[in-house]
């Protein structure tokens, strides 16, 4: 069973995000970059399926050179080879453009399954996976928390949580599945794995290598434009309810909740 996992590199979830002076992007200077956590679930699931069914796991990333580190991490976890789509013209691309580039890199690979994260934790668009499936002309099953591939390796059942229930969707292969939290607990990249990863193949592809027109990518090619980024409102100071007795305090609290907060 050959599996492709798409990997996005995102700011570490603990990073303090600062908005850049253009009000449309973030300051990337001091950011620590990590593999998108949802993609990590995809890598882990692919590795488990490979351990059961054999085959190869290929990880595909897109972005500047630094994305290599996330791809190497996936290789250190146990993936077999990596492809990095890197091109200056990609800077500023939207999800659809990213899906186009991924589709061009993946279409000639042999695959039975594709995993992507259900969304990137940076922009939270959640579009790339579905768009990629559409461009490749294969089914797409979103938000997997459990993936059961049939013993004959020809179909898959995917569990998705819906309002406290579980929806089980069956699909033939190949299929694209987007990974959700709860799918698995990703393994750590161990030092022996890290050393082995140095020798695993990592191919770099530019847009022209993939036969793509760079005019469709970057800021110019965006279908979705970012107008403005604003920080969440600062939390206002708390209020201490005054009063001599518990009764007075309770009455004052009730008044504030009714008149000021207007919640009761």
């Amino acid at each position: 069973m050959n599996i492709v996992v798409c990997i996005k590199q995102v700011p570490d979830t603990e990073t303090q995000i600062k908005i850049a002076s253009d009000n449309k992007s973030i300051v990337t200077d001091d950011i620590k970059w990590v593999m998108n956590p949802y993609d990590e679930f995809g890598v882990e699931e692919a590795l488990r399926l490979k351990e059961k069914f054999g085959g190869e796991v290929t990880v595909v990333g897109l972005g500047p050179k630094r994305v290599t580190e996330s791809l190497r991490t996936a290789l250190a976890m146990g993936a077999d080879k990596a492809v990095l789509i890197t091109d200056d013209a990609l800077e500023g691309s939207d999800s659809l453009a990213v899906a186009k580039a991924l589709a061009a890199a993946i279409k000639d690979l042999e695959y039975d399954l594709i995993f992507t994260g259900q969304r990137g934790v940076d922009d939270d668009m959640g579009v790339a996976g579905a768009s990629l499936a559409e461009l490749l002309g294969i089914p797409h099953v979103a938000l997997a928390v459990k993936v059961e591939v049939a013993e004959d390796g020809k179909s898959v059942k995917v569990h998705r949580p819906v309002e406290g229930q579980t929806l089980v969707i069956e699909s033939g292969l190949p299929v694209l599945i987007t990974a959700q939290k709860g799918l698995n607990e990703p393994r750590y990249a161990s030092l022996p794995g890290i050393m082995k990863a140095k020798k695993k193949p990592l191919d770099e592809k530019s847009l022209s290598d993939l036969g793509l027109d760079s005019a469709q990518f970057g800021q110019e090619g965006r279908k979705v434009k970012v107008l403005e980024l604003t920080p969440p409102p600062e939390r206002a100071a708390g209020k201490i309810v005054e009063g001599e007795t518990p009764q007075e305090k309770a009455a004052e609290l009730a008044r504030l909740l009714h008149e000021e907060a207007k919640v009761i």
């Binding site: 990590v34 580190e69 190497r72 991490t73 250190a76 393994r187 750590y188 990249a189 161990s190 030092l191 022996p192 794995g193 890290i194 050393m195 990863a197 140095k198």
Partner: protein, 382 residues
């Protein structure tokens, strides 16, 4: 322009990321609770073993993860980020108890006593210090008398890190005459008849690590558990100290680094006389001094580590590095508490723990005074 010479490369950074993730997921959320409870769950050894973290720096042939000294340093630095040096010391008791087995032991001993420890299935501790012998290693009194295919061990080991729940103790015993030449290493398993353990000792710091006294009463240890030959123990202990001193230096640097970061953060938040205390020159200069010391100490320790990694003898330099790093962490943790004022005396603030945890670093693995003895002997001759 020439390329910057770096101690850490891509693989080191990846190890750092792995350990950071491990700390975020498996340690940090629980660390305050473990500190108060006085130990961390045994299960953590297994988890760290599974992630290959325990094995960093040990040969793959015996279940280790391989790697050089800077992989080890990267791992220790990131583990220290959990905020509890006790957790690091507890997980790290194998780092001082396994090397003698690897350097003196037979193939059979290495397979039997190293593999399960690096996997996290068994806990390993080092037993050198005794109630009446600490820095004076040659004064060890625990006796091991050969009787047929056994040694009968009598005596006691004191302040043993991971001692309360260790499954095996790499233990220095006296098999011969009074001098250092009479000392040997035995691996003593905790289920050996005659082996018993005190209650956990109550300590100033390192609360999350268990420390105990261990007693041997006619303890019958198979002679096949002897590491190397009789009389090789002292050499084994001394050789082992290099790695331990480096590790303690790294721990001191990280303790100081974290104390500095906490102080920078606090001084920006805390207001006095109508402005953040980071606006007062007295605070700014204090922070500048702290940062300078931390920087100098870290660079010094890295340099000595690089020389050790290249096989150079650094007995004098590592003694200097340990003393320097501990002097820096003494000063920086003191100033960090001072900057925090009353808050720094409260358990709620990390600097309170850093201040306590720091105190052992200039005692364990060779006291500050012993380090100075070593350094002065190198300068003046014996």
């Amino acid at each position: 322009m020439s390329e910057l010479q770096e101690y850490f490369g891509e693989t080191h950074n990846m190890v750092r990321n792995t350990v950071r993730k491990f700390v975020d997921r498996e340690i940090r959320p629980f660390v305050d609770q473990w500190e108060e409870q006085g130990e961390f769950p045994r299960e953590l050894y297994r988890k760290a073993g599974d992630a290959g973290i325990l094995g960093i720096g040990f040969p793959e042939a015996y279940g280790g993860s391989g790697g050089d000294l800077f992989h080890k340093i990267a791992a220790v630095e990131e583990l220290m980020r959990c905020g509890s040096a006790g957790v690091v010391a507890g997980l790290g008791s194998l780092d001082i108890s396994i090397p003698p087995i690897l350097s003196l032991g037979t193939e059979e001993q290495k397979v039997r006593f190293v593999r399960p420890v690096l996997r996290g299935d068994r806990i390993s501790a080092l037993g050198v210090t005794e109630p009446n012998a600490g820095s004076d290693v040659a004064g060890i009194q625990t006796k091991a008398v050969r009787q047929g295919d056994h040694y009968v061990v009598n005596g006691s080991k004191m302040y043993i890190t991971s001692g309360a729940r260790a499954n095996q103790l790499t233990c220095a015993v006296r098999t011969g005459g009074k001098s250092y030449r009479g000392i040997s290493f035995l691996v003593i398993e905790s289920d050996t008849p005659g082996y018993s353990v005190s209650e956990k000792l109550r300590k100033m710091g390192w609360w999350a690590s268990d420390t105990a006294q261990i007693f041997f009463d006619e303890c019958k240890v198979p002679a096949q558990n002897l590491l190397g030959r009789e009389g090789q123990g002292f050499y084994g202990i001394m050789e082992n100290f290099q790695a331990e001193r480096l590790q303690l230096s790294v721990m001191a640097n990280m303790t100081a680094q974290i104390a500095l970061e906490e102080s920078v953060r606090y001084s920006r938040e805390r207001e006095a006389f109508g402005r953040p205390i980071s606006g007062f020159q007295v605070t700014r200069h204090k922070l500048a001094d702290m940062a300078t010391l931390v920087e100098a100490s870290r660079e010094f320790v890295y340099r000595v580590a690089a020389k050790i990694d290249a096989g150079k003898n650094q007995v004098k330099e590592i003694s200097m590095a340990k003393n320097f790093a501990c002097m820096v962490s003494d000063r920086v943790t003191y100033d960090a508490v001072q900057i925090h004022g009353g808050a720094g005396y409260m358990r709620e603030y990390l600097v309170e723990r850093l201040y306590r945890d720091n105190r052992i670093l200039s005692i364990g693995g060779g006291t500050q005074e012993i380090m100075k003895e070593i350094i002065s002997k190198h300068i003046l001759g014996k």
